[in-house]
């Protein structure tokens, strides 16, 4: 079966909205509901975070949601159990996002296999370097038709961006600024970086993430990439409002009317 991310980008390659949330937050069993609401609200890609105790690339909001999720009892095993029938509910591309140690303890091969059984389309594991992935993990991901999505940042050289592009499938996660998640560094002064990467004519589509939190930042990210990823802002919204389809839809509409 064709990977849903690939399929999505064939159909559409601008104004893509991808939303991240931490599985197990606010409550342990919210995962399926949140996916359902997001997909009904018209989100193009959903990133399901599996929590880690020491999320190095994340700011306070995702640190906090991860901590709460762990306290609530979220583990990869629990998550896969929750997701086992998810493809009966939605055909939106699903990407898992979390840290390497959690995958390592689950088993890298087993992780890829179960993702493919469930119908997960990609994984973002920020602290799994590309060299390690190539040597040890790629074979399992290819077999499972699972995209490994890598990050590029303002400090990534052209040469490395090209290398990462060559090894990626699905999309490239373009980190908007030098920051951990949730920092609202202005992205308006990032145009030279966005242009630089744009001019490389990479083969994979790019989604911009980190510091995208409203319509304005979303729109400006879409100028130089195929779309954007919202994480901390959505989690904040979950923290401040009760979980319901209406609230989720309201949040999504505020970004993409």
């Amino acid at each position: 079966m064709e990977n849903r991310i690939t399929k999505l980008f064939k159909r559409k390659n601008k104004d893509i909205l991808s939303v991240y949330f931490t599985a197990g937050y606010p409550s342990l069993n919210d995962t399926v509901d949140i996916i359902d609401y997001l997909s009904k609200a018209g989100v193009d890609i959903i990133e399901v975070g599996f929590p880690f105790s020491d999320p190095l690339a994340d700011g306070p909001v995702i640190q906090e949601s991860s901590k709460k999720a762990i306290e609530n009892g979220m583990t990869l095993k629990v998550l896969f159990e929750q997701l086992k029938d998810i493809r009966k509910i939605t055909e939106v591309p699903l990407v898992l996002m979390g840290y390497h140690n959690v995958v390592l303890q689950y088993g890298e091969q087993e992780f890829a296999e179960i993702c493919s059984q469930i119908g997960i389309d990609g994984a973002i594991i920020p602290d799994m370097p590309i060299e390690y992935y190539n040597d040890r993990v790629k074979k399992y991901f290819l077999k499972s038709n699972l995209s490994k999505i890598f990050l590029i940042t303002p400090q990534t050289s052209d040469k490395r961006a090209e290398l990462i592009d060559k090894q990626s499938n699905g999309f490239l996660y373009m980190v908007s600024s030098d920051s951990v998640t949730g920092a609202n560094k202005s992205i308006s002064d990032r145009t030279s970086y966005f242009k630089r990467i744009n001019d490389l004519n990479l083969q994979n589509p790019r989604l911009t993430g980190f510091g995208i939190y409203n319509k304005e930042t979303f729109d400006s990210a879409c100028k130089y990439s195929s779309g954007a990823i919202i994480g901390s802002a959505f989690i904040k919204n979950l923290a401040e409002n009760s979980l319901s389809f209406e609230n989720v839809q309201k949040f999504i509409k505020s970004i993409k009317p």
């Binding site: 994340d58 959690v102 303890q105 920020p126 799994m128 590029i152 490395r160 990462i164 951990v180």
Partner: protein, 604 residues
């Protein structure tokens, strides 16, 4: 130690061997050699990893041909392996060609004549004397090299393979900087076995506790970092060795250690402990290092490196505050601004050190999250580094974190065992003790105290972890004893974690040992039985601290008291020589000591 694999010629094999990341690859252009290259694919050289230097080997070849081949392929070095004269080398030198001059050695070799070559060469290479100019597969008597006393590094060559690598690694010479491997790794002429090469490279790296080019000690270490940190870490990986081995750095660092830190620190013979345990107990006085612990050895080195890399600001984590104080000190001296991240819990329990850091001009930021101790301070510092990747230098305080930190910090701390060796030699006539005992948090004082004794058959190396309230109490920091393999702070190692891979909050009364992981080098040394790992609980460490203070007039840091406490659990033979590394002094722990005294009033 540089590793050179020589005599390759087939593309596929070149790629296989290059993937094992030796430091040098050699290609033979001597027509009469059985390993002469025939059609060497030029493009393949271009795609070798940057870290590998390529060498073309010539024997009495026409100068013009040499230059032509060097230029055509873009080799990094020419290895001149025949009877060429100093003038011959000079003319290549003048063409900007870097030279490794090889000599066949036998009993009658005249080392004096090398003086005429030394200015034109980067390295010498000493091979077994042979009419065919090398490749004989035979070794020579390396003891002859004791006559060689010119300041020019050399490669040792000739018949080195898996069967005799142990012997090679025992051979010591101050100028030995590389090992040249060829025929013994072959399956046929010019074709190297991937398995044998892999195995021997690993053995050599481990002897010197050096990670491979990707930062691995066996399966441990590496650099598991998010892409945001890649340029920062890569900059360090690419530059640290060249900078810290440069003449200029070596001499600046050495004078800082001597004149500023006050090294060498004494090795003190403890009469009372020796009597108590019926052995010869020596105390390595890192508490007398400036700022009161071994930590300054590392921070002086890294701040010097930060300056050479033109960094404008240093950030660091600290647990006990000793690394923070040492960082603030080195930064004050170097006039570079400094921010220290410290867990809230540690800010309270090591208040004295917080005041010192402030006085030294550092900014202190409370790291929240987790148990608000060392692990969380590292998380905070790493995030801060992600937020400021360009001009900020992250100064890690132990042998943890992504490559190259474990190796870099190891190198800076190795001064401890270098001194112990010399001091023991003077005091006991032998430089090797029976035991070295050190406490282990991340592992920097332990690796420093062990470094020059690793793989020495006589010396047992004992690392004492913080047992906390008991290894099975759920409140412990015994990371190797309880740990499973995983990834923490960019490095694969043993760590305390749940089945799901969540890192478990550690506990130790001593803030410096309160860490759920361990340096990857120690994980490897543990697996290969090169060190013994054990633990003592909070109370044992506290009691040892009181006992030692009263008997010796030295108030130890709570961390170091763990090493002292382990003496109680050991059985010595009468003439055993034991070195305990006293990693720091105890002023910072006065409040904890006071409280313990109050709680145990009747006893003390």
């Amino acid at each position: 130690m540089n590793i050179k694999i020589c005599g390759l010629r087939e593309s596929k094999n070149i790629k296989q061997i290059a993937a094992l990341k030796p430091d040098f690859l050699g290609f033979i252009f001597y027509e009469k050699s059985k390993r002469v290259v025939k059609k060497l694919d030029k493009s393949i050289l271009k795609y070798l990893p940057d870290s590998i230097k390529t060498v073309a080997v010539f024997v009495n070849q026409d100068l013009e041909e040499v230059t032509e081949i060097m230029n055509y392929y873009g080799f990094d070095y020419a290895q001149i392996h025949g009877n060429e004269s100093p003038e011959y080398c000079k003319s290549l030198f003048l063409e900007n060609i870097k030279i490794i001059k090889a000599f066949g050695i036998d009993e009658s070799f005249d080392f004096y004549k090398l003086n005429e070559y030394k200015d034109f060469c980067e390295f010498f290479l000493f091979d077994t004397k042979d009419i065919n100019y090398g490749g004989s597969g035979k070794t020579f008597n390396w003891e002859i090299l004791n006559k060689y006393n010119i300041q020019k590094p050399f490669f040792l060559s000739g018949g080195i393979g898996l069967d005799n690598i142990d012997k090679v690694l025992k051979f010591k010479h101050p100028m030995l900087s590389g090992i040249d491997l060829n025929s013994k790794l072959e399956t046929s002429y010019g074709y190297k076995s991937k398995e044998k090469t892999n195995k021997i490279i690993k053995i050599i790296h481990m002897k010197y506790i050096e990670p491979d080019n990707n930062g691995y000690y066996g399966e441990y270490g590496g650099a598991f970092i998010p892409e945001m940190l890649y340029p920062n870490v890569k900059e360090l990986q690419d530059n640290y060795l060249e900078i810290i081995n440069s003449e200029n750095f070596v001499s600046e660092y050495a004078s800082l250690l001597n004149d500023y830190a006050g090294r060498p620190t004494p090795l003190f013979y403890s009469e009372s402990l020796s009597k108590k345990y019926s052995a010869n107990i020596f105390i390595k006085r890192e508490d007398l290092n400036h700022t009161g612990s071994h930590k300054l050895n590392n921070t002086l080195g890294q701040v010097l490196l930060a300056k050479k890399l033109n960094k404008k600001r240093v950030i660091a984590e600290t647990g006990a505050g000793q690394h923070g104080v040492a960082t603030a000190t080195a930064c004050a001296l170097a006039e570079i601004s400094c921010t220290i991240y410290m867990g809230e819990k540690d800010i309270k329990r090591q208040a004295n050190n917080v005041d010192r850091m402030k006085l030294l001009g550092a900014e202190i930021v409370a790291a929240d999250g987790g148990s608000k101790s060392l692990k969380d301070a590292i998380n905070h510092a790493i995030r801060e580094w992600i937020n400021n990747p360009v001009d900020t230098y992250y100064l890690l305080g132990s042998i943890v974190g992504p490559h190259p930190y474990p190796d870099m910090v190891t190198r800076f701390q190795s001064v401890i065992s270098r001194e112990i060796k010399q001091q023991l030699k003077t005091k006991t006539g032998s430089e090797d003790p029976d035991y070295v005992i050190a406490c282990i948090g991340g592992g920097s004082n332990a690796i420093g105290a062990f470094y020059h004794f690793i793989n020495n058959e006589k010396t047992k190396l004992i690392a004492v972890e913080a047992g906390g309230k008991g290894v099975n109490s759920g409140k412990t920091a015994a990371s190797i004893t309880l740990g499973k393999k995983g990834i923490i702070h960019g490095s694969k190692t043993y760590l305390m974690q749940t089945e799901d891979g969540q890192i478990v909050e550690p506990h130790s009364v001593s803030a410096g040992l309160d860490y759920p992981g361990i340096g990857p080098a120690h994980a490897y040394l543990y697996d290969t039985n090169s060190i013994e790992v054990t633990s003592v609980v909070d109370k044992e460490a506290l009691d040892a601290a009181f006992d030692f203070s009263k008997k010796e007039g030295i108030i130890p840091a709570l961390e170091s008291a763990h090493a002292l406490a382990y003496l109680n659990k050991m059985k010595f033979k009468k003439n055993d020589v034991v070195v305990v590394n006293l990693s720091g002094r105890g002023e910072k722990d006065m409040e904890i000591y006071q409280e313990y005294l109050k709680d145990n009033n009747c006893k003390n």
